[in-house]
């Protein structure tokens, strides 16, 4: 298990943090794109190790958080239908729709299942020919190849009882939207390592050029994140704006070509609404014409969806990096993981939930006090 411990070494992390403190002479705002990176930063306390001048802005890369409310409501309506087996990744189950969540649909008798791979849902369809099996295909480019493969297999096997409820979103248009938004403060990006493991990073040099920003492909372990931040700060300090790969053990420039070929066959680019942000043009994938028969939205004609977001929720501002979670008036009061008002409080990758769960509502002094007495533990 060397690959784990190697990238979680506290001493090396401290050394890298010191190096970042040495090279950072000015304040910089860097956005980590991916929700998995946000989770890791907060869980490990990476942000606490950085100089006060380096601010991490948490990006919109949590697939659970940006899936539009309307689609959640559609999912709930489909999952509640008799004869449907509704399959989803685990953390979609607690996302509040307008009136319920998938847990409640399950509790009321809906056949809702957590699967780890959409291919398991295809197997369920094969074994249950009398059921309509629907997979909730959300996520960025990372989860897309497996979702595409499930549609591909279903088509090859001629399955009539398998469909996908698709809400795929794409990273490059989101970066464009953030850079083009009024009042944008982001000066550099940590690109989502696992998105790039699929797509490579050939899409990004034009963005670096157009906006004059450094983009660093970054992983998820503490040392990966510190290395990504270090390289980004070095570029900013030197006035460079290049695409750099700090996740070489996983990511190549071209990415996974077999996956990209399959994605091009199964999906086509479409405009997509991002929860809390709005419609971003050409920012998502839907099933292509050849696979339209497997589109759950076509198979189940769900109408009459009327969505209503909480007026208190500022998840859009959080997702755009305009405010930190604790700056929302509802944070930790009306809105907690127990009673989420918006999706960013639901998923463990959501910035609000990460802040709440890891105690970022405590003051710095309280947290520092909490750790002060700890030095004796673990050395008996």
């Amino acid at each position: 298990m060397k690959y784990l411990t190697e990238f979680r070494n506290g001493e090396i992390a401290q050394r890298m943090a010191r190096e970042i403190r040495q090279i950072a002479t000015r304040p910089w705002k860097i956005m980590e794109v991916c929700g998995g990176q946000t989770h890791s930063i907060i869980k490990n306390g990476i942000d606490q190790m950085l100089p006060a001048t380096i601010e991490m802005i948490h990006g919109p890369g949590c697939p659970v958080c940006v899936t539009p409310l309307e689609l959640i409501d559609k999912a709930l309506a489909i999952a509640a239908q008799p004869g449907v087996m509704f399959c989803s990744f685990g953390d979609m189950l607690r996302v509040p729709g307008t009136e319920a969540d998938l847990f409640q649909v399950k509790g009321a008798g809906g056949d809702v299942r957590v699967v780890y791979s959409p291919l398991d849902a295809v197997e369920l369809a094969v074994r249950n020919p009398d059921k309509q099996v629907v997979f909730f295909g959300v996520g960025f480019e990372t989860t897309a190849p497996a979702n595409a493969m499930s549609a591909h297999l279903a088509k090859r096997r001629g399955l009539k009882n398998f469909s996908l409820l698709v809400s795929h979103v794409l990273v490059p248009p989101a970066i464009e939207a953030i850079m083009g938004s009024p009042g944008n403060q982001v000066q550099g990006f940590l690109l989502a390592g696992h998105v790039c493991s699929v797509m490579g990073y050939w899409e990004y040099p034009p963005l670096a050029e157009k906006y004059g920003i450094p983009l660093v492909v970054t992983g998820f372990e503490p040392l990966d994140l510190l290395d990504g931040i270090r390289r980004c700060v070095m570029q900013l300090e030197a006035g460079r704006h290049e695409v750099e790969n700090a996740y070489e053990r996983i990511v190549t420039f071209d990415g996974n070509q077999a996956a990209q070929k399959l994605l091009a066959e199964v999906f086509e680019v479409t405009d997509r609404a991002w929860r809390g942000i709005g419609v971003i043009s050409k920012s998502g994938w839907r099933l292509s014409e050849a696979y339209r028969a497997f589109d759950a939205e076509e198979r189940f004609h769900i109408t009459g969806i009327h969505t209503e977001e909480s007026p208190l929720c500022r998840s859009g501002d959080v997702l755009r990096g305009a405010i930190k979670p604790a700056q929302c008036a509802a944070f930790g009061k009306e809105c907690t993981p127990r009673h989420p008002l918006g999706a960013t409080m639901v998923s463990s990758e959501g910035a609000c939930a990460a802040y709440y769960n890891y105690g970022r509502f405590l003051s710095a002094e309280e947290l520092a006090g909490a750790g002060a007495a700890l030095t004796g533990a673990g050395h008996d």
Binding site: I46, G90, F103, P222, P340, N357, L374, D380
Partner: protein, 356 residues
């Protein structure tokens, strides 16, 4: 403290979408997290309130005049019924034995009730019963009463088991979740997360070079040795089952009105368990154990208790993982491997695997 002392107050809740107040039972009510705690505190406790129940310990302590008894009960609904390292049979015996043992009692007698589904193979039931008999013999307890019910096909999941147990409390030993004190050291008897990940790997078809085995074991022997040596220096004990180490430590922090600090790198976690957790996006501190105990011990007794634990086959990987503080009352705070701090809260319901 800012707005919040770690036990969020929902009394002034004014959400336009009152969603999470589930009007029906959801799986999370059985997940060892907040939803389950609320069921106990808002429904069961008010309905049944009495001094023996109020402590909400793993077992109730009953004073019968001639001596003190401990009583506990637990139901077992695990799937799959057989898994690497054990079966529902061992779990049903060891679970109740451990609940008695961590209450400071010597477990003596168990009951066993079976709810069986029509069509369940008798050979499987026989294997389960054999496992129970063996576990009872190992733990030194007797199964003295029982019951069997059969439900129609489709109304059960093969085999559910309930066990209840009675134990005799040792003279002069008073342990309980409300007795942890600032300065106490927190010790754990071995690696965490083994049972939950053993079950999860079977369910999800994860394969490792050596399969993850459940740690299912009776802890009464180990605990007896600790109590004999350290006596009243042991303030609280708990077996961190559902909801894992994090839920157990949060419960004790809240019951005792103290803060608990743990040093994350000192947590004993098997590499394959950590790996499986990383793969599924889970945190081992929330994963169930079935053969581990957490001890809150006065600092001067720590070396002796660790020595005893490590000399016992079930305590070889015992470690000191943290301590009790008078600060941040009711909360569990971890020092991360990076030297930063984070709060580890009680989960709301089940821990959900992350999307990617």
């Amino acid at each position: 403290m800012t707005e919040n002392d770690g036990t969020p107050d929902f009394s002034n809740w004014s959400c336009p979408l009152p969603l999470a107040d589930y009007p029906t039972i959801v799986m999370g009510h059985g997940g060892g997290g907040k939803l389950g705690n609320e069921l106990v505190e808002h429904l069961f406790l008010p309905a049944f309130r009495n001094p023996a129940l109020e402590n909400l310990g793993d077992a109730a302590v009953l004073d019968l005049g001639s001596g003190r008894l401990a009583m506990s009960t637990d139901s077992f609904v695990v799937q799959p019924l057989f898994f690497p390292g054990g079966s529902i049979g061992e779990l049903a015996v060891n679970g109740t034995v451990n609940d008695l043992a961590v209450s400071g009692a010597e477990p003596k007698y168990l009951s066993a009730s079976f709810i069986l589904e029509e069509g369940f193979p008798l050979s499987r039931l026989a294997a389960i019963v054999e496992a129970m008999a063996e576990a009872a013999a190992t733990a030194g307890v007797r199964i003295v009463t029982g019951d069997t019910k059969v439900v129609e096909h489709g109304h059960g999941d093969g085999c559910y088991i309930n066990t209840a147990g009675i134990g005799v409390l040792r003279q002069g030993i008073v342990v309980g979740p409300h007795r942890a004190q600032p300065g106490d050291a927190v010790l754990v008897s071995g690696t965490i997360g083994d049972h939950g990940m053993a079950i999860m790997s079977v369910r999800e078809g994860l394969e490792f070079e050596s399969p993850i085995r459940s740690d299912c074991a009776a802890l009464n022997g180990l605990i007896a040795e600790v109590l004999e040596a350290a006596g009243d220096a042991v303030h609280a004990m708990r077996d961190p089952t559902r909801g894992g180490l994090a839920s157990t430590l949060n419960e004790i922090a809240q019951a005792s009105g103290v803060g608990i600090e743990i040093d994350e790198p000192s947590l004993p976690v098997r590499a394959e368990v950590q790996s499986a957790c990383d793969l599924l996006g889970l945190d081992p501190v929330y994963v169930a154990n079935e053969g581990k105990a957490v001890f809150f011990v006065a600092p001067e007794a720590v070396p002796a208790v660790l020595r005893i634990l490590r000399a016992h086959p079930l305590g070889r990987d015992a470690a000191r993982i943290g301590q009790v503080t008078a600060q941040h009352k009711g909360m569990l705070v971890a020092r991360t491997g990076m030297g930063a701090n984070r709060v580890i809260p009680t989960q709301i319901g089940e821990q959900l695997p992350r999307i990617c």
